[in-house]
């Protein structure tokens, strides 16, 4: 394409230049391929590889806490700190725990909703339900988190609704974080499961029924195994999005910290960018571990 523009400066008409370029290209498949791949590859390398490398390298720097100047000599101090200090272990475990819990809650809520949408509802109702599931995504994330802050506050709606049953608001804390995050990421879990269920042929369920399987048995032995890839796809969303979150924790998490908060305080308050970079490696490692485990199950190939 670029050859095209250089040649276009030469007097002959456009058509000829374009034709010549196209004949050039058809004669050279390698050139064609590299031109096609140049843009996406540049993007991929810049955005992912360079960013990750920058993160890794800056994790090896240190910072002078008094003047805030970055010392660019390489040392493993930050990595040593995050692996040996119990604080980071505690916070990492807490974060993984919250992310796992959010994922479990989301999958449990999403399964019946998606099943109803895909297999029970009429075409018209299905469309309405898809819109209903998507609508919360139109509201800002912050608005939803702050809404939960007021819902869960002392004397808020939650307390009012729960008090007749002798229950009380959980208050701000990890429970509130799990509730809020599960709410916010729910659409991302419903949609893949819904899509997965649509691909399960009704004939299979019918056949199981004809052969005498109870609805529960055909659900367990036919539908769920076929759904595993879709569930895993949904879980990747809710798990990874919760893993990196710090805003919800700040708003409804009370005094608790998650990994994202440690990154945030080290950048925003402590001005320790290298340590923040080192901490940011923890969720990356966890996600790589998670995806590897998922790959082992073969779920990614079915996706």
């Amino acid at each position: 394409m670029s050859v095209d523009t250089t040649r276009a400066a030469v007097p002959p008409s456009r058509g000829t230049a374009a034709r010549r370029a196209s004949s050039q290209l058809s004669a050279r498949p390698r050139l064609r391929l590299s031109l096609l791949l140049a843009a996406p590859l540049t993007w991929l390398v810049l955005v992912y590889v360079v960013a990750l490398a920058a993160l890794l390298v800056s994790a090896l720097w240190t910072v002078d806490s008094f003047t805030g100047e970055i010392d660019r000599s390489l040392t493993l101090d930050n990595l040593k700190e995050i692996t040996t200090e119990s604080l980071y272990r505690t916070v990492a475990l807490r974060t993984v725990g919250v992310a796992a819990l959010v994922t479990v809650v989301d999958v449990l809520v999403a399964l019946p909703i998606a099943f109803y949408m895909a297999k029970v509802a009429s075409k018209r109702a299905q469309r309405i339900l898809v819109i209903a599931v998507l609508t919360p995504l139109w509201a800002s994330y912050l608005v939803k988190a702050f809404a939960w802050r007021s819902v869960l506050s002392d004397g808020g709606i939650f307390q009012w609704a729960a008090s007749p049953f002798g229950l009380d608001t959980p208050g701000y804390g990890l429970t509130a974080v799990v509730i809020t995050q599960a709410y916010i990421w729910l659409p991302y879990v419903i949609l893949p499961i819904f899509a997965g269920l649509e691909r399960v042929p009704n004939s299979l369920v019918d056949a199981a029924g004809d052969l005498g399987a109870s609805p529960w048995t055909s659900m367990r032995t036919i539908v769920l195994p076929l759904l595993v890839p879709a569930i895993i796809a949904g879980s990747i969303f809710s798990f990874s999005l919760t893993l990196g979150d710090y805003i919800t924790v700040n708003i409804v998490g009370g005094a608790n910290q998650m990994l994202g908060n440690l990154v945030y305080t080290n950048v925003g308050a402590a001005n320790n960018l290298p340590l923040a970079a080192a901490i940011a490696l923890i969720p990356i490692v966890i996600m790589i571990g998670y995806l590897t485990a998922v790959r082992r199950t073969g779920a990614l190939e079915n996706l």
Binding site: M1, S2, V3, T5, T6, L31, S34, L35, A38, T42, L46, A54, S65, F66, T67, G68, E69, I70, E85, L87, T90, V91, S150, S153, D154, G155, G156, G171, Y172, G254, A255, Q257, L262, T265, V267, G268, A269, A270, N271, N272, L273
Partner: protein, 393 residues
């Protein structure tokens, strides 16, 4: 194809270059303009605008409360349009100041030394600020606004971190900081504390009074043993803390909903809580506090308007409005006459040097103990920061 790789390489080059710029800005290495030039000798024409980085309630133009406005008069007099940004902690301010986007920064004593050390603050020629003459002498040339005999800013006002409680929920009325430390379990889950490493000094001050055998003489100068004891107090408190606050709006809302009933505060926050009955007071042990300094950034793009602002905010009228609104003592005796509340200066003990000397103004903890001890090394601010994340757990 040759062209494509060329452009992509150029794009990559541009990205690397801008990345390097960001890094340079982040390191604050670009302060060459202030290094040897010294303070301005005379002023030129006003530039027409000035951007200010300040604590909440310091730069009010009536947009928060139409009654509270001392910026409009300045804009009218000088033709300098003010844009301002507020911050919640000194650390946040430090990072914002280093972007170079702000001409004027108001800094507490735990920030000024860092601003000067990282060459973010320009030397200030107080002769160009006529209203500086009226300022209390005991606020001038102090270790938090004067370095190597050079002035790096002018005083704004000073005040104490107070203890605030919800009068309906907390009884009997507390008198001491112990209600948020040793006795905080009484209000488990409803206690709040300031979310910054500097809050460690509040616990140190408490220990200074309750455990004299630790020998704490200055809450910003803590050796290993004293520091460990202080951190222990805060870890115990953590079990009862519902939320930490650094965003003052968050504290206001938490007190209004009743999610928080007791904790450290500023007077301006107590003034803003409307939906519940709160009281803020100075506990018997005294308190940590602040003495703030208006500084000019070494990267200031509008130095003349910056000087104009410094002179304006030092004037008794403007200073009275700003300090009365925030709830702190003004920087000069004349300001008392301009306050709307005739008891204003008595309330905040303005000019009472004895009282002022009992407040422990925020300082930056450094390894060389601030209380003059030379036989031990004190914990510096990086260790305070680290301990603070550990306390929060």
């Amino acid at each position: 194809m040759r062209l494509t790789t060329h452009t992509s390489r150029r794009a990559a080059g541009a990205l690397v270059a801008s990345g390097a710029l960001v890094l340079l800005a982040a390191c604050g290495g670009g302060g060459s303009s202030s290094e040897d030039t010294g303070a301005a000798a005379k002023l030129g024409e006003n530039e027409g605008q000035v951007s200010i980085l300040a604590w909440p309630g310091y730069v009010e133009d009536g947009s928060n409360d139409p009654e509270v406005d001392w910026v409009s008069a300045f804009e009218k007099d000088t033709g300098c349009q003010v844009t301002s940004k507020t911050y919640g902690t000194s650390d946040e301010a430090f990072n914002l100041a280093k972007t170079g986007d702000y001409d004027v920064v108001v800094a507490s004593g735990d920030l000024t030394a860092r601003m000067v050390a990282s060459k973010q603050a320009a030397e200030v020629n107080t002769d160009l600020i006529p209203n500086y003459a009226g300022v209390y002498d005991f606020l001038k040339d102090k270790e938090w606004n004067t370095f190597d005999g050079k002035n790096y800013g002018v005083p704004h006002g000073y005040g104490a971190n107070l203890l605030m409680y919800n009068e309906d929920e907390v009884s009997p009325a507390p008198t001491s900081w112990s209600s948020v430390f040793d006795e905080s379990s009484k209000y488990k889950g409803k206690v709040t504390a300031y979310d910054s490493p500097i809050y460690i000094a509040d616990a140190a001050l408490y220990l200074m009074n309750t455990q004299p055998d630790l020998g704490i003489k200055n809450p910003y100068a803590l050796d290993d043993e004293q520091f460990a004891a202080t951190v222990e107090v805060l870890k115990n408190q953590r079990a009862n803390v519902g939320e930490y606050w650094s965003d003052y709006l968050k504290e206001i809302s938490a007190f209004e909903t009743g999610d928080t009933v007791i904790g450290t505060t500023w007077q301006v926050i107590a003034n803003s809580v409307e939906k519940s009955k709160v009281k803020a007071f100075l506990p018997e042990e005294g308190s940590t506090g602040w003495s703030d300094t208006w500084m000019i950034s070494s990267q200031a793009k509008n130095p003349n308007c910056s000087y104009a602002w410094l002179n304006y905010i030092e004037s008794p009228e403007a200073n009275a409005q700003a300090t009365e609104y925030f709830g702190e003592a003004p920087n000069n005796p004349e300001a008392c006459e301009f306050a709307t509340d005739p008891t204003f200066c008595d309330t905040y003990k303005a000019g009472d040097e004895d009282f002022a000397s009992k407040l422990w103004y925020w300082r930056t903890p450094v390894a060389e103990c601030l209380d003059g001890r030379t036989d031990v090394e004190c914990k510096d601010y990086s260790e305070w920061t680290k301990a603070w994340t550990e306390i929060k757990g």
